[in-house]
Symmetry: C2
Subunit: 338 residues, 2 copies
DNA sequence: TTGAAAGCGCTAACAG
DNA sequence: CTGTTAGCGCTTTCAA
């Protein structure tokens, strides 16, 4: 069957009719007599005919491929989103091709190029942590190639996107800390140019204000999103003259790294320091103490991203909807009442 | 650029030469004069010409697509292997399409069908936990469609595969337990029809024998690989008349589930019960206590699987190499000396 | 040294 | 109701 995929021609030869007759019969064209149609469809089924997508693609100039670019594929966050995208794509008869940027803008650009060469019909992407200029995406927009962002977006680019409500989430965390008696709340952020960093930081600041807490610059730190750098940032916080009594990290990677550091410093969670993550990792429930965190609707985010993509294809480049997904604070041991 | 991909024809029109001349010049065919060749190549570069893979595919009857089927994509184990496959595939100018069976044989069969329709050139798969009959794969073999298995393989099918040395790994674990003073060693296995279950069980039994320990059927249990069922199996062990003093699980999922259960029972690790996993999860170092486990060379497994695939394509279906990867026991807190 | 034509599998406009 | 033809982008004989 490898080289033995049956073609319309094969069917036509066998039945001694023309190729177009076969083609029409297979799509129930009214022009073809009922009997002939039946006969042809039977044979097609018997021979296990399936249309050659290459031929169709060439004809219609479409590959039914969506290029998906993510920072990495091994983090549960991304693989879960990918599952969501895949599910919806499949429903539409599309399949996805995945590339990971490894958080490198260079690889991101390269992936865009490669996907273009492969004639993907469009892109669904979450930018790398390095991505602060967007020429490679602007080029896509100019050429009207469908592009959708999720989670980390390029704000200046007006394309459809799905993000989580980071402002709200961060506010929830601050309030939660406050209500449980924590006052010196620290936040480990990410690169400033990323919308997720900015939003959560805004929420952090707003939350502090709403709780009547004064913002202390010493309690705000930043890392490049790697576990190593998150550990470094945590150490910095722990070596402060003013030791925080609560920390929340931009994401799961950071929270886990912080947990390790805090333990290493001989501090207890949540007694000495409370900790909250931003994640949907099931591991949150395994670590000790179990980790309070913002649960992120990853599967939904993937599905919504794909839905946006198909709407974009349909409605054209004027479609610019942004979906903001609500998150939920899941309280566990790491932030218990003092 | 969406519909504006440049074609040979475009180039030909612009230069007022024939399409075949363009085609030849682009591949440095000696027939074409040096100047013309240069001129054509320059224009091609300028216009950003890239060959249409659909057209090439149709012509050569190849899609450059490999269908990859895994039990799920969100587990680090699989996503890491996928990364490895992807890396090698890309080097060969192929790309991979991923489907997850969700551990359901039905979905696995469906994915094979779908991929076939998409004209993938072959398959790289890790079978679902339900997979105990193989018609869908036998069909591929009959039709000489390249097929490679990794981790969980179909033993009766003689195709290339990469597996980890489960016998050796399990023996290492038993010896490790024994040397650290544990004598009542339990093993939570998986479905009997999976090679990974069988191998590790064999290693378990051999290890016991080598250590002069008598096999106790009460200490051998089985689960279906889901976290829930692993929890159930753990409970069963913990409710035994003979409480084990050490447990190892077939994989990471099981080990983590067991850890939860053990803690829930108010037992301490490793004081009351030692625990060892089979995993490469970085979370092993975050849980408390940190989890001793067999580190599994996932990235390498992915790469090797892809390498086998390309060898298979090249050498034809007589190629049946099996690669057995060595594993390493990484000792952490969960199995400390008594 | 270059061009014309056929063919990969399919659809659709145009003829009968 | 059915067949012929052209064309999607490309390579490859075969002609010139």
């Amino acid at each position: 069957m490898s080289r033995k995929h049956i073609s319309l021609k094969d069917l036509a030869n066998e039945l001694r009719v023309s190729i177009s007759t076969i083609s029409r019969a297979l799509k129930n064209h009214p022009d073809i007599s009922a009997e002939l149609t039946a006969k042809i469809q039977n044979l097609a089924k018997e021979r296990n005919y399936t249309p050659n997508p290459l031929a169709m693609g060439l004809l219609k100039q479409q590959t039914k491929m969506i290029g998906v670019i993510v920072p990495d594929i091994v983090t549960h966050f991304y693989s879960s989103i990918i599952s969501g995208i895949e599910e919806v794509a499949k429903q539409h008869g599309y399949f996805i091709v995945i590339a990971s940027s490894n958080e490198l803008i260079e690889k991101e650009i390269e992936s865009v190029e490669n996907f273009l060469k492969s004639r993907v019909e469009g892109f669904i992407v979450c930018v790398s942590r390095e991505t602060s200029h967007f020429e490679h995406f602007e080029k896509l927009i100019q050429n009207e190639i469908p592009l959708v962002f999720f989670d980390r977006i390029c704000e200046p680019l007006k394309v459809p996107s799905v993000i989580a409500d980071g402002v709200d989430a961060a506010k929830k965390i601050v309030h939660h800390f406050y209500e449980n008696g924590y006052k010196k709340i620290a936040y480990i952020s990410g690169p400033e140019h990323l919308n997720i960093s900015k939003n959560r930081k805004d929420g952090y600041l707003q939350g502090l204000e709403e709780c009547g807490l004064k913002f202390d610059p010493q309690l705000l730190t930043e890392c490049n999103l790697s576990a190593e750098d998150a550990a470094r940032a945590t150490q910095q916080l722990l070596n402060n003259t003013k030791l925080p009594d609560a920390i929340f990290g931009l994401n799961d990677t950071i929270a886990f790294a912080a947990m390790k550091e805090i333990k290493k410093h001989g501090l207890r969670i949540p007694d000495d320091i409370a900790l909250v993550g931003f994640t949907d990792e099931f591991h949150s429930t395994i670590v000790e103490p179990t980790l309070t965190s913002i649960s992120h609707p990853t599967l939904e985010m993937g599905k919504e991203a794909a839905n946006l993509f198909f709407q974009l294809i349909k409605k054209g480049s004027n479609f610019k909807q942004q979906i903001v997904l609500k998150t939920e604070l899941v309280v566990r041991e790491s932030s218990k009442k003092r």
